[in-house]
Point group: C2
Chain length 341, copies 2
Amino acid sequence: MPVGTLGSVKAMSPKELEEIGFDIILANTYHLYLRPGIEIIKKSGGLHKFTNWGKSILTDSGGFQVLSLQKFRKITEEGIKFQSHIDGSYHFFSPEKVMRIEHDLDADIIMTFDECTPFPSDYEYAEKSAKMTARWALRCKTEYKKLQSKQSLFGIIQGSIYDDLREKNANEIMKIGFDGYAIGGLAVGEKKEDMYRIVNLLDKILPKENPRYLMGVGTPIDLLENVERGVDMFDCVIPTRHARNGSVFTKNGRLIVRDAICKDDLKPIENDCDCYACKHFSRAYIRHLINVNEILGIRLTTIHNLTFYSNLMKNIRKAIRKNNFSEFKKRFIAKYTREKK
Amino acid sequence: MPVGTLGSVKAMSPKELEEIGFDIILANTYHLYLRPGIEIIKKSGGLHKFTNWGKSILTDSGGFQVLSLQKFRKITEEGIKFQSHIDGSYHFFSPEKVMRIEHDLDADIIMTFDECTPFPSDYEYAEKSAKMTARWALRCKTEYKKLQSKQSLFGIIQGSIYDDLREKNANEIMKIGFDGYAIGGLAVGEKKEDMYRIVNLLDKILPKENPRYLMGVGTPIDLLENVERGVDMFDCVIPTRHARNGSVFTKNGRLIVRDAICKDDLKPIENDCDCYACKHFSRAYIRHLINVNEILGIRLTTIHNLTFYSNLMKNIRKAIRKNNFSEFKKRFIAKYTREKK
């Protein structure tokens, strides 16, 4: 899922996202609650109509944002009191309130309100935190039923990098029962081996019939490694954020198209890429545009990077259907990480 | 002509410009000479290929930019020595050199290198300046012939706001003979009545069969007033620059879509506008996007403003063909300037 925090995938139009082939984008409850506010989105008829995005939307619940972006936040059993990063005003999110907000936003998939356990956390804190996340998940489900929402509700599993906490939390969350299960609290600074071990562990526990979503991940290699470990869905700012920094993804690894090396390079970013950027523009032109701060530059790198990610996921699905995912992964990584000549 | 100073009409893709209906854009010799440099554009096969713009391009000669943007510049009979506004490096533009650069850029229409007479200038300076512009125009024409260029070459008329200088300069420029005639040195701070008087005066002198181009103009009303006075072509940053400031053009005058007044406004910018912004998005959404610095916001206002300008010129042409331009102009201005309720 490309990330459209504030109701827009940065630099893209909904038409372009559709053309690239995305079926779902992510938006953030926390950010939309602060700006433009829920009322106007509700009045518009929900996020789809407000943003003119006809395909699916998933709204994150704000647990991660409230805890990572704010200076002031106070966590109690009832919920989280926090200060707006925009104007310093005070706000309060409880599981029930977040469900009501996500209901008003009217995305197709909504996330439970969790405490995204900070990293690193000691065992004691991680245990306390995961237990509260489970209690909050139950409150979310109860409120969700009250609202008679027809949205899909996904539960979020916490437990930091402690195997037994993850297992216990997963079982608690599964007992409540959700349409899909998300792995939260990873990709927050832990070692890759810890991430992979936790995802492996959850792969054995989570039901096969429900989608699994690894939040905030990741690089192309992260996607491959975690698909191998049973993950179905991801969201990450990497393709769009790298694009805005003049960094583009290719089958041969990343290329800093902003660098002087591309000054006289009349080749497209990727020869065999079908995106609008690669079909019509040279590295030299894109490098020039970024260099002089022309918006078209980062529009083109964003189109390319999102196309790269979209194609990677399409090819992964194809490889899985053909039963040769392992071979596909091996070849992709070998090419992607090969020393450049 | 939308302005694509650095080889990109700000925030737009060439595909979007074509969809709006533009047949020609402007680019700046001065800016492209400094960044990315002429060599890479030449190596690309010219500006059209470099920028992927298949329709016409007009390159301005840099006379205006060199004189208005620089701190250091020294004007001699030979040409203008100036310092780059980017890195302070020294450069020299002569009429011959500018012709060679514009030939390399390979636009469809190229402009002679003139001294854009500063405003205000006393009569003596304006006379001296206009005479040199005429001598430079001849040198441009001579070099242009040597290059055996198949581009259209437009001469630029100077003379500040002095009727006799304008008349004299126009006759000198016409004597050299160009494919089109541009009126330079206006829209630089003079009173509207001075602008209109000079354009009226030149209307009586310039040949009917060649296009007339009023440089750097202007507002919708400026366009109407000067079309009435015989002008065929304009360029101006107003539609794109206003768009980036959150200001949009409507038949009822300008609207600051960024303002709080649009916060809850679910109407499009203009009800009867067919542009991508008006067909799919509300003022409230566009206002939100601009408010939170999402690039899509200024993409949408730019699309709308350029569509507004493009439609205005189309309707002007239609009215002229139907022989009711005066009536069209009157109605447009009455609506555009009516007090808002």
